[in-house]
């Protein structure tokens, strides 16, 4: 097993790092801006249900999305707006699903973070944590059956999901089959309100990799350069036939579980530690310090993101809601076997 931790980028990789860092920053910022807009739409009553933000997890998420290629599989979780964008999901898929547009991929049948386009490798998460892990494993198994090699599958989980049966069963199955699966765990210190001390008793979650016989990687989830490097390494190892890769990122969720939650349970001292740093602000500081972007360039990137989000939201606001009278209320693909609601 490989115990990898982020090391400073080698000088030969510096120019590559610069362009990747800047690209990742753009996805992180776009995610932050659209999520702030979603939160305000929620407060304004334009979004029913809930809004779940990834503030503080954008570096890890963007790095995951960027490490993947077109043709790979990605099963994102709740706080993966940045990774979804980096992997190729459109802003409209996000705004339409959150705002209940009939034109979105879920057509009002599911909402918020439960969205995807499975045939394009974007799996649509269900709420049961850990449940997407075996699904990604099965998709990779299918590709092996079909003789389709060279693609990988990645999925995201939180610290809470490491306690589920699905986590154990799915990671073990992927390890037995040596599948090219990358499991990215954002240890954001709380599963809803439950601290890690009530979640697991091991010293470090990455130690679980030993038990499953998979490679383990640790990364500081607030450090974008480290995330890019470790995710690239993990995805490359999986693609090269190295079997499942478990990535454990340490960070702090900087918002509540959802916008309904004020996160008052978070230990205030934790916010003052390096874990509590805002990865977006750190990335901005690094861009300026390295001279990879000027303050003016950052301002323009920000304006561009605001404009893209405004356009997506404005377009979505004009779109129709699902119509219960036009809904066919048929859960089956085999329509003639549907019982419908005729006996209810």
């Amino acid at each position: 097993m490989v115990q990898a931790t982020a090391a400073p980028a080698a000088s030969a990789e510096t120019s590559n790092l610069e362009s990747r860092f800047l690209a990742a920053y753009r996805w992180m910022l776009l995610a932050r801006v659209v999520e702030e807009k979603l939160a305000s739409l929620y407060r304004g009553g334009k979004i029913t249900g809930g809004v779940f933000l990834g503030k503080g997890q954008e570096a890890l998420s963007a790095a995951t999305g960027m490490a993947l290629r077109k043709g790979d599989i990605f099963a994102p979780l709740i706080r993966d707006q940045a990774g979804r964008l980096a992997f190729g999901e459109s802003l409209l898929d996000c705004t339409r699903t959150y705002m209940g547009s009939r034109l979105g991929p879920m057509r009002g049948r599911d909402g918020n973070v439960h969205r995807g386009r499975p045939r394009e490798g974007q799996l649509a998460m269900i709420s049961h944590l850990g449940a997407m892990l075996p699904v990604v494993a099965g998709s990779l198994l299918a590709r092996r059956f079909k003789g389709q090699h060279g693609t990988v599958g990645a999925t995201s989980l939180g610290d809470g999901a490491t306690s589920t049966g699905a986590f154990h069963e799915g990671l073990n199955l992927a390890a037995v089959e040596k599948l090219p699966l990358v499991l990215v765990v954002a240890n954001n210190q709380y599963a809803y309100s439950t601290p890690t001390s009530r979640q697991f008793a091991c010293e470090d979650l990455v130690d679980k990799a030993i038990g499953y016989g998979v490679a383990g990687h640790s990364v500081d989830g607030t450090d974008l350069a480290a995330c890019l490097q470790v995710l690239d390494r993990a995805v490359s190892a999986a693609r090269a036939g190295g079997g499942p890769q478990l990535v454990i990122a340490s960070l702090l969720r900087l918002v509540g579980h959802g916008e309904h939650d004020d996160a008052s349970y978070v230990d205030p001292k934790l916010r003052e530690t390096p874990l509590g740093a805002d990865c977006l602000k750190l990335a901005e500081a690094r861009l300026l310090a390295e001279g990879w972007a000027s303050a003016e360039a950052l301002r323009k990137i920000h304006e561009g993101a605001e404009r893209q989000v405004e356009d997506a939201v404005t377009a979505t606001l004009r779109e129709p809601f699902p119509d219960p009278n036009a809904e066919d209320w048929c859960a089956l693909a085999t329509r003639h076997l549907s019982e419908g609601s005729s006996h209810g």
């Binding site: 879920m106 045939r119 079909k146 069963e169 799915g170 048929c330 085999t334």
Partner: protein, 320 residues
Amino acid sequence: MITYLEAIREAQAKALADDPRVYIYGQDVGQFGGAFKATKNLAKEFPGRVMDAPLSEDAIIGSAIGAAIEGMRPIIEMQFADFSTIGFNQIVNQAATLHWRTQIPCPITIRLPSGGTAGAGPFHSQSMEALYAHYPGLIVMTPATVEDAYSMLLEAVAIDDPVIFCEHKYLYYHLKAEALPTEATPTGKARLARMGRDATIVTYSAMVHESLACAEELATEGWEIEVIDLRSIKPLDTDTVLASVARTGRLLAVGEAWPWGGVTAEILARVATEGFGLLDVPPMRLNAKDTPVPYHPNLWGTHRPTAKTIAAALRQLLAA
């Protein structure tokens, strides 16, 4: 002669031979051929396509869903229907909702060795069909004959939706037919297993045979009992049930599962709401007792309906 179990094995062999998208995944299904030998020799005949899985029902079914998204048509063997509870989340929340949420079909077949046999006890005997039928997005098949075990399993693999295939362990070895069928009744259509005019028994799976034995016994007393084999409980062929009740005016629904809210309750609800005027007397139903399935043959034989207890219920119905 071919047994019910051999028919299931032959259907899987044909599905594997006909369609490269089909594979079999489950515990001990590979070289060992399955706990009941339903996949005997298939791993040898179809190398790499009949695979042993770790003891992980959640991951087995979850992986089948992922493979289906990629265009495969997996057949999953749960070693016993009872163990599907560990995969319940993947079945009802993932497989059953996938097409409705994303428009991507989920063509997986989940074989559940179901129902009681003497000595099997509380955790190797369960009938779980009602539980799965409750969830939208699933098709639930309950074949009672060798012919249906074969043709319905082939149809299950061909259907673009998740199919819960409840094959009855009690029928595995001693239910035999001359040959495999060359034609099949489509799923969704019930079968008139015996014609009669005095009362209708609506049932499925192993209880079809208990009901037929009961009808035979009552025939010696001059009663003509009609027996309907539902074949699939979802969809449920309400039309055939109503047409029979229209002829007989008397209804007894029989099932091996537990009484609360199950298949027999559904049948009575449908007849009461859609064909109340067809009934000459109040309808009846007979199920297993409302306890876990007992181990000892003496207790087990009394826990589930048998030809004898079905006859007792019928006499009551006929006297009403």
